[in-house]
């Protein structure tokens, strides 16, 4: 061990030199941690694209604090372990802030590492657990599951007056968290939950679980997971002749849900925030035009726009404080009040939570179009 | 304790209802060279497999120094001092000759379970003794020059010698040789005969299956002849050789042709 020490000292010196070199450089680095490949690739790529678009716009105007902004992306593939690896990597790259990730699980896995390194992080992850640590480095740019859950419970109990409710989720961090929140909110309103279950994403065959549910004769099946399984669940539900309503959480709102469910899609209810194309804000319309012009497509969903708002809030913090010190920037971000965002006004609570959220329920029509049935 | 080191009493072994060994009995004296002959497929190797625990016979008793060993696992049989060679040579082909012979030292090695992780002075002493023993055996079988060569790369005759050295390394009381001369040329067979006598002189009891009649007759002190799993004749070599039942059995089979 003692023999090791000279080496330790030497390599430590080299490291310190490297780190100080990157600090002194004339760029400000912003990290992107997103699922650029894998199951959620389209969302991850949208986040990466959006960040690069905003950064290009800033750099075109001369950067920030007199320095150019450089984007460093890391692909977390939507998995917690890869996220942990990305976190280490981005910290080592010396980024000031990290945008992402898309899934709550990958976000949470990286949180502690960023916190220890004093790096700001902003994510659209909706799990309530994301803010339990009260890390000063973390900001949520979307709305929490608990907000969606409260809306869902209100709709189920006050709106639809369901008597027998089934709640299903998959194993993902986001989905279990949303299901837990919905169950909690329903119980608070004395909703009668007759069954809570989990399905394994990607299994495709849900008939066994649905047959079991059929025997309970429910009024509604609520699914908090992703569209890839939700569409199949709906199709197999109709196939088995289960006459309950099907209500999908926000991640079921995807064109592929309709394709998977096929003829069974009609009559499905989906709960979500407004889709990008109906956002009423000028800044949103301008962003979408720019995005379309640069990438010749639309962002995958509103989630990538939420991340862009996170980035804009961080950059705004830098500009107003004229500081690169993350502590100072964070303090400024916590004080933001109704900062004009693409997805609406942005206000952060002390624990990093974004306040607000306007949910609505759509019913899928025969031609796969949406009809708003509840606000 | 009787004068017999190994007693086989009314042993029968079946495969899928077909009888492979049928009510076989024999007794081997300590220090003897005991021969087993018979046409191919007579059940000789099956008998050896029963003794060494690879098969468990359905009926009968196998007594080692008066104690029942039927159904004992092969590695425990080896620990008791019964070692064997194989008709189809079974060496650790990719490993060197010395390492092959070292496997025979396994049961004699006194290394403790933690010696696989950390070495102690006792380990070094034990390891050295065992390698030295391997060296002695390589000298004895004229194998020293091949010490580092993979056993599988060597000629048939040498491989047979390695197999015997390996079995002998375990310091057996009973050495079971399954066709030790098969595939050897005349010189090698002669050499083998000398070696077997030397092994006997060390006090090792030997049981062997062999088709080379000349060798069997010159070496063995007692012979049992098996056909269709049953004993058809037994006695001193001279007696067995002239027994009409035996002659009949051999003429009735294609035995000799196959071994040309």
């Amino acid at each position: 061990m003692t023999k090791m020490f000279p080496k330790f000292a030497a390599s430590l010196a080299v490291c310190t030199a490297l780190v100080s070199a990157s600090v002194a450089a004339d760029v400000i680095k912003i990290g992107v941690q997103a699922p650029i490949t894998g199951q959620y690739a389209s969302e991850g790529q949208s986040i990466d694209n959006g960040v690069r678009l905003i950064v290009d716009q800033f750099n075109a105007k001369g950067g920030i604090l007199g320095k150019k902004i450089e984007v460093v992306s890391c692909d977390d593939q939507g998995t917690a372990q890869q996220a942990a690896i990305c976190a280490k990597k981005l910290v080592n790259e010396g980024v000031k802030a990290v945008i992402g990730s898309y899934t709550s699980g990958a976000t949470e896995a990286a949180q502690t590492t960023y916190f220890r390194a004093g790096i700001l992080q902003t994510s659209d992850g909706t799990s309530d657990s994301l803010i339990t640590h009260k890390y000063w480095t973390f900001f949520r740019n979307s709305f929490p599951n608990s907000a969606e859950a409260e809306y869902t419970a209100k709709y189920f109990v006050d709106g639809k007056k369901y008597k027998k409710i089934v709640v299903l989720s998959d194993y993902s961090s986001y989905s279990t968290d949303l299901a837990d929140s919905v169950v909690k909110a329903l119980k608070a309103k004395n909703g009668n939950i007759i069954y809570e279950g989990k399905i394994k994403s990607g299994t495709q065959n849900f008939t066994a679980a649905l047959t079991k549910i059929k025997s309970m004769d429910p009024d509604v099946i609520y699914y908090s997971g992703y569209y890839t399984d939700g569409g199949l669940l709906r199709a197999q539900q109709i196939q088995l002749g289960i006459k309950a309503d099907f209500v999908g959480g926000d991640s079921n709102d995807n064109p592929d849900f309709m394709k998977l469910a096929g003829g069974s899609a009609e009559g499905t209810f989906l709960i979500n925030v407004p889709t990008p194309d109906i956002l009423p804000y000028d800044i949103a319309k301008q962003f979408l035009v720019d995005y379309k012009a640069k990438y010749n497509m639309m962002p995958a969903s509103i989630w990538s726009l939420m991340n862009i708002d996170g980035l804009r809030a961080v950059l705004n913090g830098m500009e107003t404080t004229k500081s690169e010190d993350t502590k100072v920037i964070a303090a400024a971000m916590h004080k933001l009040k109704d900062f004009p965002g693409i997805t609406g006004p942005v206000t952060f609570r002390e624990d990093g939570e974004r306040l607000g959220g306007g949910y609505m329920t759509y019913e899928v029509q025969a031609d796969k179009s949406y009809k708003i049935v509840y606000k | 304790m009787s004068e017999y080191i190994l007693e086989i009493k009314h042993v029968s072994k079946y495969f899928h209802g077909l009888v492979a060994i049928n009510d076989l009995s024999m007794k081997v004296k300590k220090g003897q060279i005991y021969g087993i002959i018979g046409p191919n497929g007579a059940g000789k190797t099956t008998l050896f497999n029963c003794i060494t625990g690879i098969y468990t016979p359905e009926e009968g008793q196998i007594l080692w120094k008066g104690k029942e060993i039927k159904g004992t696992t092969p590695f425990k049989i080896a620990e008791l001092g019964i070692l064997r060679t194989f008709q189809t040579i079974r060496l650790f082909a990719e490993m060197s000759v010395a390492e092959n012979i070292m496997s025979g030292r396994h049961i004699k090695s006194k290394q403790k379970w933690y010696n696989g992780i950390i070495h102690t002075p006792a380990y070094y002493k034990d390891e050295k003794e065992n390698w030295e023993k391997v060296g002695e055996l390589m000298d004895f079988f004229n194998l020293s020059e091949y010490a580092t060569i993979p056993a599988g790369d060597l000629s048939y005759g040498i491989q047979r010698r390695i197999e015997m050295a390996r079995a002998l390394a375990a310091e057996p009381e009973l050495l079971i040789l399954d066709e030790p001369a098969a595939g050897l040329n005349e010189n090698e067979t002669l050499e083998l005969t000398q070696t077997i006598l030397k092994i006997q002189a060390m006090g090792v009891t030997i049981m062997m299956i062999e088709h080379d009649m000349e060798m069997v007759m010159s070496l063995t002190e007692y012979i049992t002849v098996i056909n269709f799993g049953a004993r058809i004749s037994a006695g001193l070599p001279a007696f067995v050789q002239d027994d009409p039942v035996v002659v009949e059995a051999y003429i009735g089979s294609d035995e000799e042709d196959e071994h040309e």
């Binding site: 090791m4 390599s11 490949t37 280490k88 | 696989g116 950390i118 390589m138 079995a167």
Partner: protein
């Protein structure tokens, strides 16, 4: 007296020892993971390459070690140092309990049984049994190593800890190979019937390999969880097990340099070629096939004949 192999090993060790001086901390993190994965690959090699057991569930023991450290540290507040012993011992006990009933199975049957154990393990983690494992998210916020008030937080410290672990592993491997136990495993691997007939208990030595391999993998798992301060089920799934299995066979089973090369190819190269993200696994698969066709025993196959020099005097 030094063989060519141990010369190369020494050069490599020296290079790895000074590696942190040449690279930035991002590469140092890759280096650390390489070291940790090599340790796991070596422990897989004890079971697969030495005892010849077709074991395709090794990520289970790796994960057990990682989760032991994570749970004891995060849920029960133990310091990391105190979790080291249990993260080695628990995998060993589990190896004994799990492998015991199936150790008599023949090759491919055992292979699928070990895959089964791995899948059950993942399901236990995902279902958050006793509320300890954190479900599909895993456990976050694992502490750093602290000793006498010093915080071993920097990547360089992590690197050297992993380096020392690899050193210990190599020391054990060398001792194993030079003992009755390592040899018994080889004999069983090459010919079970002949080995039994020499008095070697197949069951005992296969279990010995399993337990030793599990313990080393557990130590690596503990290191892994500290390195990333997070553990989650998918890091220990069957795909990971298959990777360790492949590392050993591509590199050369029972060959120390082979396993290191295998780890380098299967783990470091994909990191280097991240740019070609999408096509890299296609190329990778092709490389696996080609390697096996051109070098069926691995890139650097094991060489036997490592015997005391006094026995080599007559060798021509």
């Amino acid at each position: 007296m030094m063989t060519k192999t141990s010369m190369i090993a020494l050069v490599l060790l020296i290079f790895m020892g000074f590696f942190p001086m040449f690279v930035d901390s991002a590469w140092l993190a890759v280096g650390t993971t390489f070291l940790v994965f090599s340790v796991v690959a070596f422990s897989q090699d004890i079971i697969l390459g030495r005892a010849g057991v077709f074991h395709m569930g090794h990520a289970l023991f790796f994960g057990l070690g990682a989760y032991t450290t994570a749970i004891l540290n995060v849920q029960f507040g133990w310091p990391i140092l105190a979790t080291w012993a249990p993260s080695v011992l628990i995998p060993m006990v589990c190896a004994f309990l799990l492998a015991g009933p199936i150790i008599h199975l023949k090759g491919d049957y055992l292979l699928v049984a070990t895959i089964g154990f791995n899948i059950i393990f993942i399901q236990i983690l995902e279902n958050d049994v006793f509320g300890l494992t954190g479900g599909p998210n895993g456990i976050f916020g694992i502490d750093i190593v602290r000793l006498f008030g010093i915080q071993f937080a920097s990547q360089t410290y992590m690197y050297y800890m992993a380096f020392i672990l690899l050193g210990i592993t190599l020391f054990i491997m060398r001792n194993l190979d030079k003992s009755k136990f390592g040899r018994a495993m080889f004999y069983i691997n090459k010919d079970e019937i002949a080995a039994q007939s020499m008095g070697i208990s197949i069951r005992y030595y296969k279990l010995y390999a399993f337990i030793l391999g599990a313990g080393i993998a557990g130590a690596a798992g503990s290191m892994f969880s500290v390195q990333y301060s997070a553990v989650s089920p998918e890091a220990f799934n069957v795909t990971q097990s298959i990777m360790f299995f492949t590392i050993v066979l591509v590199g050369g089973s029972a060959s120390l340099p082979g396993v290191l090369i295998g780890t380098f190819i299967m783990f470091v190269l994909p990191e280097v070629f991240r740019e070609f993200a999408t096509a890299r696994y296609l190329v990778f698969g092709l490389a696996m096939i080609l390697t096996m066709i051109l070098r069926p025993r691995g890139i650097w196959p094991v060489k036997f004949g490592n015997i005391p020099s006094f026995l080599k005097k007559d060798v021509k």
